[in-house]
């Protein structure tokens, strides 16, 4: 057994986290910043954090992840990191020349109390920032929130680049949240089909799913441009997908520049996608093209075709709040039973929302924010499930307990496809369903007695 020391009996823990279902803020800030065109994320702290975040993102995307660090040593930790930061800014613009440096803090610089806005001002005053180049920053202390919070904080900093001209641009801002590059691409495909002009930010498509062509571009073609970010203040409104990932940035644009916003769930699964498409329709005042209704119909068709294999199946979920909310709704809508749900990200609101979504399921649901995967595993030992959905770390539980398992979320370190195939929207729903059915039916084919083994399923 891989997790052989995990007991079935659950005891309360108040201080010890085992097998976390979250990681720290800066990695989220780094991922978000990679969704700005020509941007170099910069980690203000000692170099280990940056190395870890880059490695984790590299393993997930199998793509180069460039980011720099202030490389604090003991001295900087005592006297503050301003000198390191100023030197870094100078070196970065000289050697790599990005359009934007997106700085985030780490536990270290936060604990010291480095004041990034002040350092930025000083850098500008000292002429370290060339014409037409930008510094943005987000405070991302890892002792609060989670990687999701860090993502949200950096997206908020991106919204801070808005410079309204007073002339409306006729566009809708869409903040997709922490989804895969393929998902961002899919959102753009959908809005294009509907005919809504959008500014999507951040946008990692074309950045973290690049081709192999014999050329290495440190700053690939993709990403939301600075001009677009500046223009977000002239947009008609903002659709924020996901309360945890995206709402803060949208509210910032509303508060500062009176760009109205709606916060929707991330468009995973049927119903959340329905709401997203309907919102786009209303905002743009267009009718939805037949192609989209067609894709929707295909998803409904697949659910109905295979409902017998989905009905009543118990599921354990681990991941980030916005994703889990949408996934729970999707599973419930297919008459499946998500019964154990854990996120490492704190927030009682999450538990409440899950409780609401599952209240008619007719069975007990274990849900925990600020939980960990050790607890999830214990829940599973107490009440086994038919399916686990979550990141790569779930494979240890799945193997020990011999449970079918779908990889979805962050990080995925041992399989491919998440960069290329979306799971948002109706088509994404079909892909999710394909994956779920794949593992459930593989299991059936493996376990059925020879006398019961069937060709047609």
């Amino acid at each position: 057994m891989l997790l052989r020391h995990t007991p079935k009996e659950i005891t309360e823990r108040t201080a010890l986290t085992i097998n976390p279902a979250k990681t720290c803020q800066p990695i989220g800030a780094m991922y978000a910043a990679l969704g700005i065109h020509g941007c170099l994320p910069h980690s203000h702290g000692s170099q280990g954090c940056c190395a870890y975040h880059r490695s984790a993102l590299t393993r997930h995307y199998k793509e180069p992840i460039s980011a720099s660090t202030s490389s604090f040593t003991e001295g900087a930790s005592v006297f503050g990191g301003q000198a390191n930061m100023l030197q870094a800014i100078n070196n970065i613009f000289t050697v790599y020349n990005p359009e934007v440096i997106a700085i985030h803090t780490t536990c270290l610089s936060e604990t010291i109390g480095d004041d990034l806005p002040q350092i930025k001002k000083k850098a500008v005053a000292e002429g370290k920032v060339p014409e037409g180049r930008y510094l943005i920053s987000a405070s991302t202390p890892s002792y609060a929130g989670s990687h999701v919070t860090g993502f949200s904080n950096m997206v908020k900093a991106m919204a801070g680049m808005a410079e309204p001209t007073g002339k409306k641009n006729g566009k809708v801002n869409i903040i997709p949240g922490w989804v895969e590059p393929a998902d961002m691409e899919e959102i753009k495909r959908i809005t294009k089909m509907i005919g809504v002009k959008t500014i999507l930010f951040p946008d990692t498509s074309g950045v973290l799913n690049g081709p192999l062509s014999g050329e290495y571009k440190m700053f690939p073609e993709g990403g939301t441009t600075v001009a677009e970010l500046q223009s977000t203040g002239d947009s008609k409104g903002t659709l924020a997908l996901g309360e945890w990932c995206s709402a803060d940035a949208a509210r910032e644009l509303d508060k500062k520049h009176k760009v109205p916003c709606s916060v929707l769930d991330m468009p995973f699964g049927l119903k959340a996608t329905d709401r997203f498409i309907d919102a786009l329709r209303t905002i743009a005042g267009v009718s939805i093209p037949e192609e989209i209704a067609h894709e929707r119909g295909q998803l409904v068709d697949m659910i109905s075709d295979m409902h017998q294999y989905l009905y009543g199946k118990k599921v354990a979920l681990v991941g980030d709040p916005d994703q889990l909310i949408a996934m729970t709704e999707f599973l419930v809508s297919m008459d499946m039973k998500p019964i154990h749900i854990v996120t490492g990200t704190p927030g009682k609101k999450f538990e409440k929302r899950i409780k609401e979504l599952t209240k008619d399921m007719g069975c007990e649901v274990n849900v925990k924010a600020a939980g960990d995967m050790f607890l999830l595993h214990q829940w599973i030992k107490n009440e086994p499930v038919d399916l686990i959905i979550g990141n790569t770390y779930c494979k240890y539980i799945a193997r020990d307990e011999d449970i079918p398992y779908v990889r979805w979320g962050f990080p995925i370190l041992d399989r491919q496809g998440h960069q290329y195939f979306p799971t948002v929207g109706y088509k994404g729903g079909i892909r999710l369903l394909e994956k779920i059915l794949g593992v459930l039916l593989d299991r059936k084919d493996r376990d059925d007695a020879e006398s019961k083994f069937e060709l047609v399923l």
């Binding site: 976390p20 720290c24 870890y52 490695s55 393993r59 490389s71 000289t94 050697v95 002792y143």
Partner: protein
């Protein structure tokens, strides 16, 4: 392709490459980096020529990690029956969770916590009011849940700043439990300039709290410890197989596939064989002073190097039975190696490699490339010191800077009861006279060809430039570097924690490596980068219908 490579090399001499690497830097950066790039003269200097183990430049995208990574990740990561509890915010522990490919074999029901990740997940109030209480409680909870023999605590950056006394907390908990050894590592990431400081800190605490805890004498002959072998991809398993075959008893490995008890008994061995000089030489030195165990440098990467290292161990014990057995094992293992080489080298001969890994690895793996008749045209370490480059004879002349001075040096003296010289003075002298060298390491430079480039702490920008200018057939570094190099159309092998595959140590490992490199440098995929219409864009003729 081959001619293009040659032309490049002719066009770009090492001095030109060096100046091209420095060209774009601000003057201060250029001056600093110039000292870390050496055109190899392969001479045995007394005074180091290359600068190493110095600070990374802020803003220059580095390959390096931190002290915590060196301590918790590298040295303690492979320990399976110790609960490794990280005191800090969640990230540091999360990223070190199963991300190095240290293999271990605990059997069907042995203690194994390696698949778990433990953290105190410090919150804002812990940072403000101190985290000692939470740490004590977390240790208690780990003890109650698992009853391990040992719990190790690791500090991350904020812990040092807020002044949590992790050592006292650990000591108190150890006393409270009575049957669980609890100790701590002050390995905050900001200490030192790289992972290397973390190795040193880990060495110190392992020596203080683990080594010598169990005096019981283990059975077996020819007892050694293998230091600095981390069982990445199963390397340690292969070395163990060979030791067993030779009749050499490995009391402990630091720290691949290790157990708590192995560390505790390690002072009962008669020789320390040091693999990764950088990460573990401190423990070797301390064990010699305290217990009288001599150390020698070995290397089990490369078939010839493996044979040489086995002979070195046998020579130390000096008994004919062992010497003969070792020769028999080498004779038995080599045919397979030679057959693989005969088959593969025609496809690898003359190809070029670059390696920027570790504090010993770039040197070790050069052996394997030599066996494949590939030329290592540039190499360096991520966190090596000057002695790793130019040999231990430069040690007295290394200037110790403030960053290194901050890392504790333990004062060690001979143990009153347990110090026992393994060889008499006379025996040691005789061995030395016969060419046997203790505490000796020549470093990387001595094995690199003249005129090759040795570069310390290579960064992303320089890596890309090097590849562009010198077009190696393969590049070796870590995961962060992998995909930017491969985008350039050059295969990239991870040699810290192998991206895949292994073992690459020992005889069977060497064969695995030959096959792996053959696979990589001769993969068809590198020929697919351009589509037919990109190779041939002009519409010279109309389409020919059949």
């Amino acid at each position: 392709m081959a001619t293009a490579t040659k032309k490049k090399l002719v066009q770009w001499g090492p001095a030109e490459v060096k100046s091209a690497l420095l060209e774009k830097y601000p003057p201060k950066v250029a001056r600093k980096r110039a000292k870390q790039i050496m055109i190899n003269e392969a001479q045995q200097n007394e005074t180091p020529e290359l600068t190493a183990n110095v600070r990374t430049i802020p803003g220059i995208i580095t390959m390096r990690g931190c002290t915590y990574a060196g301590c918790k990740g590298v040295i303690m990561g492979p320990t399976r029956d110790i609960v490794n509890l990280v005191h800090g915010p969640i990230g540091c522990s999360f990223y070190a969770w199963l991300t190095r490919r240290n293999q271990t074999d605990a059997g069907p029901d042995g203690e194994n916590y390696m698949n778990y990740c433990f953290s105190t997940d410090m919150q804002e109030q812990d940072i403000i009011f101190g985290g000692e209480k939470k740490l004590a409680q977390a240790i208690q909870e780990a003890y109650d849940l698992f009853h391990p023999k040992s719990i190790a605590v690791f500090a991350t950056c904020p812990v040092g700043l807020i002044g949590d006394d992790i050592h006292t907390v650990s000591k108190n908990m150890k006393e409270k439990f009575g049957d669980c050894n609890v100790y701590a590592f002050s390995c905050e990431g900001y200490k030192g300039v790289s992972q290397s400081a973390g190795h040193h800190i880990a060495n110190n605490q392992v020596f203080r709290h683990l080594v010598g805890q169990n005096d019981e004498v283990k059975p077996g002959k020819y007892k050694i410890n293998l230091l600095g072998e981390y069982n990445i991809g199963g390397d340690g398993f292969e070395i163990d197989r060979i030791f067993k075959k030779c009749g050499i008893t490995c009391i402990s490995t630091f720290s691949g596939n290790s157990t708590y008890d192995q560390f505790a008994s390690s002072h009962t061995a008669d020789l320390n064989a040091v693999m990764c000089h950088r990460s573990i030489n401190y423990v070797a030195d301390m064990m010699e002073t305290k217990y009288g165990i001599p150390w020698v440098k070995v290397n089990f990467i490369g078939a010839k190097a493996t044979a040489k290292s086995l002979r070195k161990i046998a020579g130390y014990f000096g008994e004919k039975a062992l010497i003969d057995r070792v020769e028999a094992v080498i004779a038995e293992e080599m045919p397979e190696v030679e057959a693989a080489l005969a088959e593969i080298t025609p496809r690898t001969e003359g190809k070029t490699a670059m390696m920027f890994v570790g504090g010993s690895r770039a040197h070790h793996y050069k052996e394997l490339f030599d066996e494949l008749k590939m030329k290592t045209i540039s190499a360096g370490y991520e966190f090596g010191h000057q002695d790793d480059y130019e040999g231990r004879q430069v040690l007295p002349n290394i200037q110790v800077d403030a960053d290194s001075r901050n890392i504790e040096e333990i004062e060690v003296s001979a143990d009153e009861t347990r110090f026992k010289p393994r060889k008499s003075d006379k025996e040691m002298k005789a061995l030395e006279k016969a060419g046997y060298r203790f505490k000796h390491y020549d470093g990387l430079a001595a094995d690199m060809d003249k005129g090759t480039l040795i570069i310390d702490d290579l960064n992303q920008y320089e890596a890309e430039k090097l590849v562009e200018l010198m077009k190696p057939d393969i590049f070796c570094a870590g995961v962060k570097e992998k995909y930017s190099i491969q985008k350039l159309g050059v295969p990239m092998k991870q040699l810290h924690s192998y991206d895949s595959g292994g073992p690459y140590a020992g005889f069977q490992g060497a064969v695995n490596f030959y096959k792996e490199i053959d696979r990589m440098v001769n993969s068809k995929v590198w020929g697919f980068m351009k589509a037919p219409w990109q190779k041939n864009p002009q519409l010279s003729a109309s389409y020919n219908w059949e």
